[in-house]
Symmetry: C2
Subunit: 419 residues, 2 copies
């Protein structure tokens, strides 16, 4: 950490209260390995929500819940006519998730509210701290569900009828835990949205930088690929007679890596999942199924990749004598964040005495949907070894405090800006 002691001293949040609150929230669904299992709309999610609501109400906030279970904890502004400044994240977790993915942004938001109270600061604009429903998508199969409905990316009735592996619907689960609210699950005018989140990647930690000023979210294009060759005996099948689906897949995996690297530091290209058939050591593989995804901050580059990858992969397959099926699953355009909000985060980092750099979000976040309607930016903090979606996910109290202080300054500055 490169923070000078005076920087930490100048921060207007309570670092130890924040840390205690983070650990309290982590007790809801705590796992033996130090992680969290707080799947969306389960009883343990309900308990975590109740704990959060109690904290909000104790801080004088008024909590409302919308039809998809999103929670909005409002602090009045001096000018009730001004559109609120929003901030928050999500409290649900991966099945074997960490303590900080999502929860950090919500709990730090509550610490911002408490610190404003401590300093008796009333902002011009109202503030709303949000817990979005089911960001992870682990239970019902669709990520960023609450923010997606709010932003109009999903229809409410469709979202409510999604079911988990037991056949329980989102609507039924909301009812069961008592968190189906009455506020319309629909975007409303807001001045800004800020989301604080752990990076879930290695960049900040490796550079010793405290804050990532997130300029936007990468676009993504996802494919499923199936290479179909011919199963054959490894000993008796000569080179010319082989149609080795795995050799084809291997060359396509190499292609994905080369296409990523050709795009420099902003490029992402990954084959994460591979299934080989029959997967027997003395049989030439007859079929290989594998995933392919590319990400890039520029939507035009994503569009190019969506065309270029299947074409180049097809050339490889033809050379291998293998039939390659490349199924385009979906394209998510890049979502640049709002320059004004990005500037607010940059200024807030400076004010909190934090080292900072610009960064593009590789993962999806509620902010990506919110940004469709509200000027948005995010701030990232480092996490140990870049590890997330893992029970070993870890951040330090100092890292948590730095990010929270930046959120405090950003919210305060935005809510008090001259219109």
């Amino acid at each position: 950490m490169s923070t000078a002691p005076n920087a930490a001293a100048s921060r207007r949040i309570d670092a130890s209260r924040l840390w205690d609150s983070l650990l309290q929230m982590a007790s809801f669904g705590a796992t033996a390995k130090g992680g969290v299992r707080r799947l969306a709309l389960t009883d343990v999610d309900g308990a975590g929500r109740a704990h959060f609501r109690a904290g909000c109400e104790a801080a004088g906030l008024s909590v409302r819940v919308d039809e998809i279970g999103n929670m909005f904890a409002r602090r009045a502004g001096r000018d009730p006519g001004r559109a609120p400044v929003l901030f928050g994240s999500h409290l649900d977790s991966q099945p074997t998730g960490g303590k900080f993915d999502g929860a950090y942004g919500v709990v730090a938001g509550l610490e911002v509210m408490r610190s404003l109270n401590d300093h008796a600061l009333m902002t011009e604009a109202p503030l709303e701290l949000i817990n979005w429903t089911d960001e992870e998508g682990s239970r019902f199969g669709t990520g960023m569900l609450g923010s997606g409905v709010w932003a109009g990316a999903y229809r409410l009735d469709q979202a409510l009828s999604l079911t988990d592996s037991q056949g329980v619907s989102v609507g039924a689960a909301l009812e069961a835990i008592g968190w189906r609210g009455s506020a319309p699950a629909r975007h409303f005018p807001a001045d800004a949205y800020f989301e604080l989140h752990i990076e879930q990647g290695p960049i900040l930690e490796s550079e010793g930088t405290e804050i990532g000023i997130v300029t936007g979210a990468q676009g993504q294009v996802w494919f499923d690929a199936i290479a179909r060759g011919r199963e054959a005996h490894a000993g008796s099948t000569p080179p010319a007679a082989r149609r080795d689906a795995l050799v084809c897949a291997a060359r396509v995996i190499d292609l994905v890596d080369r296409m990523m690297r050709a795009r420099g530091e902003a490029g992402r290209g990954t084959v994460g999942e591979v299934h080989v058939l029959p997967n027997s050591r003395n049989t030439v593989p007859g079929e290989v199924r594998f995933s392919v995804e590319f990400r890039h901050p520029d939507s035009a580059e994503i569009e190019r990749l969506a065309v270029q990858f299947p074409r180049e992969a097809g050339f490889i397959a033809r050379d291998c004598g293998v039939a390659l099926e490349v199924r385009h699953l979906y394209t998510v355009p890049a979502q640049p964040f709002d320059p004004g909000c990005i500037a607010v985060v940059r200024q807030a980092a400076a004010q909190a005495g934090c080292t900072a750099r610009e960064i593009v979000s590789g993962a999806g976040h509620d902010a990506v949907y919110v940004a469709r309607h509200v000027p948005t930016a995010m701030a990232f903090t480092p996490c140990k070894d870049g590890l997330s979606h893992n029970e070993a996910e870890s951040i330090t109290p100092e890292e948590a405090a730095a990010g929270c202080a930046v959120l405090f300054e950003a919210v305060l500055a935005r809510a008090n800006r001259a219109l």
Copy 2:
């Protein structure tokens, strides 16, 4: 089939009796999909053995069984002092095997004996038709077990103490089905060994050639490889921070293919089995385990591959920033067959009016162990699509008859040769 009608007419075996006998043997362990499940030393193997013994005895052969269950069905020669001419194969099958892998060589051997009877031909040398115990190795984990013990490649006590997944030993299984014999399980002087087998590869079928004159068995070198990189988020991990175990493995898979092709038609190099961890589509793979094997008819080439492959793969891993462990499992030297026996097979094919070509066996066979002590050669026949170790394994009655006719002529010629 390019056989002229007069060629088939000139053959001295009974093609329809052979085919009926093949289908009868396939009824022991027949599967719904048209294959055979006759795992070594199971009750169904025992029933198949009893059926075979009955056929042998009906043909006037005297059957003895050795301590590892190998069956020897002897037909007297005119000169009882001459070393016998041996021929045979194995009756056990893969778990989802075909009707012909192994059984063809044994049943065709019985047809040779029957045809000699039909023609009232007594050979100079005695003949012994062999059913070797547990060639497949599917149940007890070690292939070519009976011939391996006979040849001294395995010690009898060690072989008897091998256990299956239920903890049943080879010795106990032999006792249970009543096929633990008293003859010493040890090689004895013999004049020659011939083994007739389906090719289990595509070469003969693709060329329309009826007989493969097998000049030897390939050498083999087997490895297990583990690429260890670092698990990372596919969206947030930039190219320079990646240590992608799968990209490394993919390049090594490509290397194996290139090293195979650099050795021409005789080269074999295969990665058949791959396991990716965590195998999640948006995670850069942290670990990939995969098998590597090379085969070549020249032992010196196998020795070179055993050194060259780990070295070249290591260069690739270093470039990928991945730790690659290459474990050498074992090297099997190439086993050239006996030039005299090869010449006998070539001459027999000509006599039976069959098209023929020389071929190297890619798979392991009992003949490879027998060849350590007895002049040996094999004959191959085509199989549909080169498919074997598969319930869909298939040959035609004509193909079966051609191979059997060649075995007849080879055995007769060798057993009557002038010493």
